[in-house]
């Protein structure tokens, strides 16, 4: 079984939840509830980054999401036409972001968590820019239900 669908929204933070809930519903039959949480969070973080950092909060720009449902994996691509993100931003994002000292109140992070969360929640994350288009490709593998 392979099926795919493309969805798009205007670059408006108010519209992100609509898209996230639609994609979560699409994954319902393939992924556990915990993995649906992982996908929904990653997608929201990815789109927030595009709108906030790529388009600098400007509305009226396009954000596309392509969802591929396969027997063994869910592939989600977030496509935008903003200036590309520097490659090292994704490369250096990791769970180390959360290795903070909880006794140092000022040092507890308030932002810069999105890409780290995406990498922690998805099995593969790749970013490609060509021409005026950027694609963040995220893969979540389907864990077969145990008998």
């Amino acid at each position: 079984m392979v099926s795919s669908i493309s969805l798009s929204i205007d670059s408006d933070l108010d519209k992100v939840s609509l898209l996230a809930r639609a994609v979560r519903a699409l994954c319902q039959d393939l992924l556990s509830s915990d993995d649906q949480d992982a996908v929904e969070l990653s997608l929201v973080e990815a789109i927030n980054n595009v709108i906030k950092h790529g388009y600098h909060g400007e509305r009226g720009k396009d954000v596309q999401v392509a969802v591929g449902l396969q027997a063994d994996q869910v592939v989600i691509e977030v496509i935008d036409h903003a200036p590309p993100m520097p490659a090292q931003v994704l490369d250096t994002a990791s769970e180390d972001r959360f290795d903070f000292d909880e006794t140092d109140l000022d040092g507890i992070p308030e932002g810069g968590m999105g890409l780290a969360l995406i990498r922690m929640n998805m099995d593969e994350v790749e970013y490609h820019s060509s021409g005026s288009e950027n694609r963040l490709r995220m893969v979540k593998r389907v864990v077969p239900l145990s008998e």
Binding site: S17, L41, L105, I108, E110, G111, L117
Partner: protein, 111 residues
């Protein structure tokens, strides 16, 4: 988006939204900041109605904690599912005291 109730000198702030995401985080932070600036420093945030939070929402919570300063307490009650999962993933469960419900959180803070 928030409703408040004072119990045993602890301010119980209930989030009346299902999602605290980047579109809601600024208003959430503003409303919480008003409670803090009004002098409340023992706060229980009831998140039992919330079923999704992203890093912007979590960042707003951290910002409130900083505003409250070291003398205040901000406890979280009723976080389940994707909400409690985000606290664990980001290790913010070390920063915020998580309670199963408002009653136990209020009991702890008013003790």
């Amino acid at each position: 988006m928030l409703s408040t109730d004072l119990r045993d000198n602890v301010l119980v702030v209930r989030v009346e939204e299902k999602r605290i995401d980047a579109s809601k985080a600024p208003a959430f932070k503003d409303e919480m900041t008003r409670c803090i600036d009004a002098g409340q420093n023992q706060i229980v945030l009831d998140m039992s109605q919330v079923d999704f939070i992203d890093s912007s929402g979590l960042g707003a919570l951290v910002s409130c904690l900083k505003r409250l300063g070291p003398r205040g307490s901000l406890a979280v009650a009723g976080a389940t599912g994707a909400v409690s999962r985000l606290f664990t993933l980001t290790r913010m469960d070390r920063v915020f005291a998580l309670h199963p419900n408002v009653d136990t959180a209020v009991e702890q803070l008013s003790a």
